[in-house]
């Protein structure tokens, strides 16, 4: 029994960031990297199944990204994942979520897991498409925004509850293997202690090239993606201003602004 967990190292903006010269992304100097928040939950869900199971369950994490991603994979290993795989090739740069799905599907074909978990979305790009496109390439059933999962290793299907708008829940029975995108709050992710992360450094992270998973540069990258980033920018500021003074002064000022706005 094997569960594949697709994870991503996401970027967060530091204070006072700058946009890259080509205007397509933020300058890397101003980014702080960490494991995507959703992935903490999907890994935890896999770990829970592993720990509750009487039979052997292997949890394998996989990520697409450059060297720096090893740090996040190590965190997953510290939390108890059995193996970690990282796919990278410079030609992958610029791939959209669908192209990443293609890569992950290729890994899944090679690894042949019984389940594939991914986060609902990534906190930096927020396409919420990678998991689903992986399912499409694999031609597996999928369920998005999973808030509850009942699954016994070896079963032909799993019972899930999906979160819908307006507080609705949908109970779904899904055939396995399946791709599930896991929602925040489904469990309480464990803490990876720094000693644990340090000790995980001893575990190898398997690096795979595109050819090892049966793909080539012609399948990935910006040019072979169906969407491309044209520009990233900070919109010019709205006209917010603080109104100061006594209550009466503030009211007078407010009326004045409203009148200006209406063109009176």
């Amino acid at each position: 029994m094997k569960i594949l967990v697709a994870v991503k190292q996401v970027a967060a903006l530091d204070e006072d960031f700058e946009i890259r010269a080509d205007e397509k992304d933020v300058d890397e100097d101003f980014l702080l990297y960490d494991l995507n928040e959703w992935d903490d939950f999907s890994l935890e869900e896999a770990m829970k199944i592993k720990e509750a199971s009487a039979s052997e369950v292997e949890v394998v994490v996989v990520s697409v990204g450059p060297d720096r991603v090893d740090e996040s994979l190590r965190k997953c290993l510290a939390k108890g994942a059995d193996r970690a795989i990282r796919i990278w090739d410079d030609s992958i740069e610029g791939s959209d979520a669908i192209a990443i799905g293609r890569i992950l599907a290729a890994v899944a074909q090679k690894e042949a897991p019984d389940m594939l978990f991914a986060g609902v979305q990534s906190s930096d790009q927020a396409y919420a498409a990678t998991g689903i496109s992986t399912a499409a390439y694999l031609n597996w059933p999928h369920a998005a925004v999973v808030a509850n999962l009942q699954y016994q290793p070896g079963n032909q299907s799993a019972l899930i509850r999906r979160e819908l708008e307006g507080g609705l829940l949908q109970e779904v029975e899904i055939n396995c293997p399946a791709v599930l995108t896991i929602q925040l709050g489904i469990n309480k992710p464990r803490y990876a202690s720094l000693r644990g992360i340090k000790q995980a450094a001893a575990k190898a992270i398997e690096q795979m090239s595109l050819s090892e998973i049966g793909l080539s540069a012609a399948d990935v990258g910006a040019t072979h993606s169906m969407s491309r980033v044209r520009r990233m920018y900070i919109p010019s500021k709205g006209r917010a201003q603080m109104i100061e003074g006594t209550i009466a002064e503030q009211a007078a000022k407010l009326i004045q602004i409203m009148n200006e706005f209406k063109g009176v």
Binding site: D16, D34, Y191, S193, L194, R195
Partner: protein
């Protein structure tokens, strides 16, 4: 004088040989039971992990003797109990030496070499000394009985704060029974000894060599006179004596046999505990060897032999519990109970021939002898317990080691977990960008040097609270101005400075601590400076006491000593005296941790303040509640906060104007507490730097004074 050789006491006088043999047989049995007990104890300690405290054994031994002889640690904060213990101790030691002297002559020197010395003048002085010893023992014990029965001291109440009534280990009445059994058997040994002595005097009142010298044993003589007065004849005394003799003898032998099995063993365990005392306990926490698989203590066998020895040294005196701020506000923590729980656990699990299975050695949980996670997280690592313990029990290292295990298992408050992750990610507990660490310098009218790029005399390690907390930034700026004014050549690490790690380590996140410490040490080593100064006692402690373990040897001082020097040398010129009534709160990490009690007080004096101490001051200062990572854990609703408790104490000072602190976390904690505890408007909370600042601010005044 009669023939000196006849002035002595004939041992076993008029005993049948069989009786003497029987007594020896029982004596050997008692010693065998004693030795077996000692063996079991030592086997227990040997089941603990290794500890490197064997260095400087002779010095430690001398220190222990000094501590024991002066009863220095016992009279602190409880003079009468300490003195009463001193009487018992004196009595016991003298009686022990006396008995050994008799054995030396009777069983060794006389049979082997025919040497006798226990007669004549020596015998008489010996009798006098031992009578005084017996009296001292009984008086001491009587006071202890009175204390237990009538003083109703909360610290002698063994009811537990972390258990509910009805739980099997809630009130621990067996401890009370043991205490009383100990007191009674001990005092009975003393009393029967005297009656025995008196009955011998009556019995032998016809012999001049006995009766004429009776006042060399004054207590016995007095009792003998009373017996005479009551009409006891020498014959009936002769009949009574063997009964008394056997009762006294058997009780004493039983007492000896019981030593390793009961609280009496503290005679040995407390002494050894004092001998293996670590002067840096809690100030410098133990490192975790890289190759060790899990951090911290999970099972009882993870404790070192020294820890196990400390557990056995505890005499349940309750001083640690009385000093504990967590306990004072009703948190489910008593340092004594942590020690006693683990001790019961160790005695249960490690005393039999075979070690139980691994699973039965787990010290975390809700069972008997296990320690609750809530208990461990209630500790503020303020060190009040370690500092006051008369027998050198070191609670804090054990508590932190247990927390390390909780951290590894992720068993902690979600907020704390978040903070640790934040510190890992950003290097500070505020989750601010590294680049903003020195943002406060931008508002200064002068440039602050970057110690990474140019040599400085003094490197200022600022710390998280002083760097990021808006209220503390004001103080930080004042201090920068003060240093500039004094002409100090100083610089900062700017964004290269990380959280010093003191509290991260005390939380128990050792891996993160290692990361922070080694990064800071690397940064510091790459700079050129003479010494470090900090306004943060927490950073001060870890850099001073713990960085050396990681290869970082730095000269560091807290700002209070630096400022005091600068004022005394005239580099800081005070233009104005503050005429106000203040009190000073000793921060744990400056005071108890590093003995920095005097400098802040002297600075206050130099400023002209009238210092009125709170009841709990200096080594007995009361923690603000922020230590040990508790600043990142919300306090439970409904419980009083330690800081509020402290405000109440300060509020009792008539006419108090300023509550002075010298720690950024204190400023935050107490300004909050001032608002919530209803003293706002009565007095204010100020950092000492702010008071100094008020006295030096008049640069212009100097000019005008010159022209005037």
């Amino acid at each position: 004088m009669d023939n000196a050789k006849q002035i002595t006491r004939v041992l076993f006088e008029s005993f049948e040989p069989q009786a003497i043999h029987l007594f020896y047989a029982i004596g050997y049995l008692a010693i065998a039971i004693f030795i077996y007990g000692v063996f079991v104890q030592i086997r227990k300690y040997r089941r603990g992990k290794a500890d490197g405290s064997w260095n400087e054994l002779f010095g430690r031994f001398v220190d222990m003797l000094k501590t024991m002889a002066t009863h220095r640690t016992l009279v602190r904060r409880d003079k009468s109990a300490g003195r009463a213990h001193g009487l018992i101790f004196l009595g016991f030691v003298l009686l022990f030496i006396g008995t050994s002297t008799i054995t030396l002559e009777y069983d060794i020197l006389e049979p082997l070499f025919g040497i006798k010395f226990w007669y004549g003048n020596f015998y008489l002085i010996f009798s006098l000394v031992l009578d005084v010893a017996g009296l001292s023992l009984i008086v001491g014990l009587l006071y202890m009985m009175y204390r237990r029965q009538w003083l109703n001291l909360p610290k002698l109440d063994y009811k537990r704060v972390d258990r509910q009534p009805g739980d099997p280990d809630f009130d621990r009445s067996q401890y009370r029974r043991e205490d009383w059994a100990f007191l009674w058997s001990f005092i009975l040994i003393g009393i029967t000894g005297f009656i025995l002595e008196a009955s011998r005097l009556v019995w032998l009142s016809e012999q001049a060599t006995v009766w004429d010298y009776r006042f060399w044993s004054p207590v016995g003589a007095l009792l003998a006179e009373i017996m005479h007065g009551l009409g006891l004849t020498d014959q009936s005394a002769g009949v009574l004596r063997p009964y008394l003799w056997w009762f006294h003898g058997l009780l004493s032998l039983t007492f000896i046999a019981c030593i390793p099995y009961s609280k009496i063993k503290h005679i040995f365990t407390a002494a050894s505990s004092l001998m293996f005392k670590d002067p840096l306990a809690g100030r410098r926490l133990p490192m975790v060897p890289d190759e060790q698989k899990t951090a911290g203590y999970k099972t009882i066998t993870d404790l070192t032999w020294k820890n196990l020895l400390h557990l056995d040294a505890c005499t349940k005196c309750g001083r640690c519990q009385e000093a504990c701020p967590a306990n004072a506000v009703g948190a489910p923590l008593s340092p004594r109970d942590v020690i006693l729980s683990l001790r019961e656990f160790a005695n249960h699990a490690l005393s039999s021939k075979e070690l139980p299975k691994e699973a039965e050695l787990d010290i975390h949980g809700k069972g008997i002898g296990q320690v609750f996670m809530e208990t461990l997280w209630s500790c503020r690592t303020c060190l009040a317990c370690v500092e006051i313990c008369p027998v050198a029990v070191e609670h804090v290292p054990i508590i932190v080691q247990m927390r390390r295990n909780l951290v590894e298992a992720g068993e902690m408050e979600p907020l704390l977990e978040k903070t640790l992750q934040t510190i890992h990610k950003t290097g500070n507990s505020f989750g601010e960008s590294k680049r903003k660490r020195a943002a406060w310098t931008k508002e200064l009218p002068f440039e602050v040097k970057d110690a990474r790029t140019e040599p400085v005399d003094i490197l200022w390690f600022v710390g998280d609270y002083a760097s990021f907390d808006p209220r503390n930034q004001k103080v930080t700026k004042s201090f920068a101005r003060l240093m500039q004014h004094a002409g100090v050549d100083f610089g900062l690490l700017f964004e290269a400075e990380l959280n010093a790690g003191n509290d991260v380590r005390r939380v128990g996140e050792e891996g993160l601590y290692e990361l922070l410490a080694s990064s800071n040490i690397g940064t510091l080593q790459a700079c050129d400076f003479a010494s470090i100064v900090t306004t943060d006692p927490h950073s001060f402690n870890t850099i001073r006491n713990e960085y050396p373990d990681f290869g970082g040897q730095f000269e560091i001082e807290h700002y209070t000593t630096l400022v005091k020097r600068l004022i005394e040398t005239g580099q800081i010129k005070l233009k104005k005296k503050l005429d106000c009534r203040v009190t000073f709160h000793d921060p744990c990490h400056l005071g108890r941790y590093n003995k920095g009690f005097d400098a802040p007080r002297e600075v206050l004096k130099l400023l002209g303040c009238e210092l009125v101490e709170m009841g709990r001051n200096r080594d007995n200062s009361f923690c603000c509640g922020a230590g040990g990572g508790r600043i990142w854990i919300p306090d439970p609703v409904g419980l009083e906060k330690p800081s509020a408790n402290r405000m109440k104490e300060a509020g009792q000072i008539e006419g108090l104007q300023v509550f002075v602190v010298s720690c950024p976390k204190d400023l935050t904690m107490f300004e909050d507490a001032l608002k919530t505890s209803g003293y706002e408007g009565r007095f204010v909370v100020r950092e000492l730097i702010e008071l100094i600042d008020e006295c030096v601010e008049y640069e212009v005044w100097e000019d005008s004074a010159v022209t005037a």
